[in-house]
């Protein structure tokens, strides 16, 4: 055997191996023990800044970060500053799980604020539950979840649809055409819509789901023409919604006769759709940028001066913003020497605060009592609030499933 060659090769492979091992020390970081033991309070921000969902999530990141900065500028909590630890999960559920672990285990964050999609929430959920940490999730979602470790700031099916569906049936008719992306949120929303329509003697003329990111809607529009429904009930998200709205407009379907009513379309999507194509259609949400209240004025102004005059706020970024304030208010109720995620959760339950949308309340089931509104999009890209709920609506994550209820003690089946 040739010894030289032997040593060379062995060295080569060995060096590679060592490189793997040795490059780690410089990159290693410390692991703390107790929560918020230092001079500041670590909080995690887990919003995608890259990848497909970044379009929406970066606005949530901005809103949450702005709230943290405001709180710090006003002196922090208990004299301690909030220290935001920013991770970019790159729109990938596996990376969400990985980064959530870092924030909750390695960095000992007392709470993590994050994410937009259902799949990313589901990826973080097991970690939050095992570590008994707290995940603040600002997005509207499909319900049917009753975790004790997630603070849900967004609207549920009953908070969006109870006001909307009867109104649509009365003003336009009750023959609905359902179109959504192919995942759990649109299906659940449609399930709930069907239960409401049944009461109203309505009818679903067609129900279809297109793949995420689907961008050619000619077939859908042809089908809509053929079916002649009264209302398009849309749960398309992101790019699909933008493409659909633009092609719907290009096909010259008249919003006055056949409006698209969306549960997901917000100021962000409308900005990309263009005011002209969005005008006349409807969205149901607890918050619109054009909502008139002193808190909202302050919020919008601060947001614009911080991130640019042509930036928009929307119902998810509003929740991302007020959730940080709910977190702060809960922290203030705690003994500064004993801050734990579950302590924050228990302090937050039953708390009210005035958010840009109105006075909101955290329910014992950790969801939020909100103010449903119906907005009609105008050509300037803003929504005009046409109908506003007269009372705050309680969250019912199991509204479509009689006999099940989410309470402060978890899921109760009767």
């Amino acid at each position: 055997m040739k010894r030289r060659e032997f040593l060379g090769r062995a060295g080569a492979v060995g060096t590679l191996g060592m490189a793997g091992g040795l490059s780690a020390p410089a990159l290693l970081s410390s692991v703390g023990r107790a929560y918020a033991a230092g001079d500041d309070i670590p909080v995690g921000l887990l919003f995608s800044l890259t990848g497909a969902v970044a379009v929406v999530e970066h606005t949530l990141h901005d809103a949450a970060l702005m709230a943290i900065e405001e709180i710090n500028a006003a002196g922090g909590v208990h004299g301690k500053q909030l220290r935001p630890i920013i991770e970019d999960p790159a729109s990938d559920p596996a990376t969400y799980a990985d980064r959530a672990r870092r924030l909750m285990i390695r960095d000992k964050c007392v709470s993590v604020f994050g994410s937009y999609t259902s799949s990313s929430r589901q990826a973080v959920l097991p970690i939050a539950e095992q570590r008994n940490n707290l995940y603040w999730y600002p997005t509207l979602y499909e319900g049917r979840e009753c975790s004790r470790n997630i603070m849900y700031g967004g609207a549920l099916a009953n908070q969006q649809q109870d006001i909307l569906i009867p109104w649509l049936a009365e003003n336009f008719g009750s023959r609905f055409y359902m179109v959504g992306n192919n995942y759990v949120y649109p299906k659940e929303e449609n399930n709930y819509c069907k239960t409401l329509l049944k009461v109203l003697d309505g009818e679903v003329v067609h129900e279809e789901y297109v793949p995420m990111g689907h961008s050619d809607f000619s077939s859908v529009i042809n089908r809509i023409r053929a079916e002649e429904p009264d209302v398009i009930f849309s749960t398309l998200v992101g790019d699909s919604d933008v493409a659909f709205a633009r092609q719907y407009h290009a096909a010259e379907l008249d919003p006055a006769k056949l409006p698209v009513c969306s549960l997901t379309r917000s100021e962000v999507e409308v900005k990309a759709i263009g005011g002209e194509a969005a005008a006349g259609h409807f969205s149901s949400a607890p918050y619109f940028m054009g909502h008139e209240s002193a808190e909202n004025e302050k919020f919008v102004e601060a947001y614009k001066s911080r991130f640019g005059a042509d930036e928009v706020t929307h119902f998810v970024s509003e929740a991302a913003y007020f959730q940080v304030y709910q977190f702060k208010a809960a922290l203030e109720k705690l003994d500064p020497s004993n801050i734990t995620p579950t302590g924050i959760r228990d302090a937050a339950v039953g708390m009210t605060m005035t958010a840009p949308q109105g006075e909101i309340l955290i329910d014992a089931n950790l969801h939020t009592h909100l103010w449903p509104k119906i907005g009609q999009w105008q050509s300037d890209g803003q929504a005009k609030v046409i109908v506003q709920s007269e009372e705050r609506v309680a969250p019912k994550p199991y509204a479509a499933y009689p006999g099940q209820e989410c309470t402060g003690a978890g899921l109760v089946k009767s």
Binding site: V55, N222, V268
Partner: protein
Amino acid sequence: MDVVLNQIFAGLSFASILLIIALGLAIIYGTMGVINLAHGEFVMLGAYATWALQTHLGLGVVTALPLVFLAVAVVGWVIEKVIVQRLYTRPLDTILATWGIGIILQQAVRMGIGAESKFVKGPEWLSGNIEIGALVMSNYRIFVIFLSIMIVTGTWLLMTRTEFGMKLRAVIQNRGISECYGVEAKKVYSLTFAYGAGLAGIAGALITPLFSTIPTMGTGLVVDAFLVVIVGGLGSLVGTAAAAMLIGEVTALFSIVINDTLGRIAVLAGIILLIRFRPRGLFPADTRR
């Protein structure tokens, strides 16, 4: 019946967009054997160039087309000179390198312009529909269909009626012998790559009024376009056009018979079978190397 007619038009419209994207890819692949996975990002650059021209100079989508073509062609030319040129002897590696280029371009746009979706206004004079009985055709989509036919014809003329085209075909047939006759193969390659990139740019400009303009918009398109190229056959313009048409129509028809997702799966399965039994595509060119 009305639905079927409308679906045929929808398929045609989808096919025309697919065709313009695939054409550039087909030329690059047919000439150099390079599988350009950054092609989707060229489409994206075209869309952003249109957005920039509209926002800053007030140009409409159609008037901006020549400028968009040039801008993206220049980017393509630079990338060919700096990176792709060194990889012609390793065609499989070009898949990897161009994927890397795609990541870089996407991130550059995200960092330079921002991740949020941009709005581009469609041309006013092309709004509205033509209605023939129950058949409703959007004017803008008709325009895109005609433009795609013009682009294919133009490319065909360029390949068959010009000196550049002759050199190009010579290099495709036999690079070594062409070089002996004084054809600068390197230059031909650079220009071809730039031309292909420019076409992708035009496709990007044309889809902005219909789609959402974001940094990741090209990633999904490149797989489809690439399948069109493979199905069409190596270096064959007719094949590419026929394949785009076939895939567009089949997708549209499947979409009413089953649904959009299953339709797409069926089309992909069909493509796999086709490659298996006709690996040279529907209309293979006669010679290569």
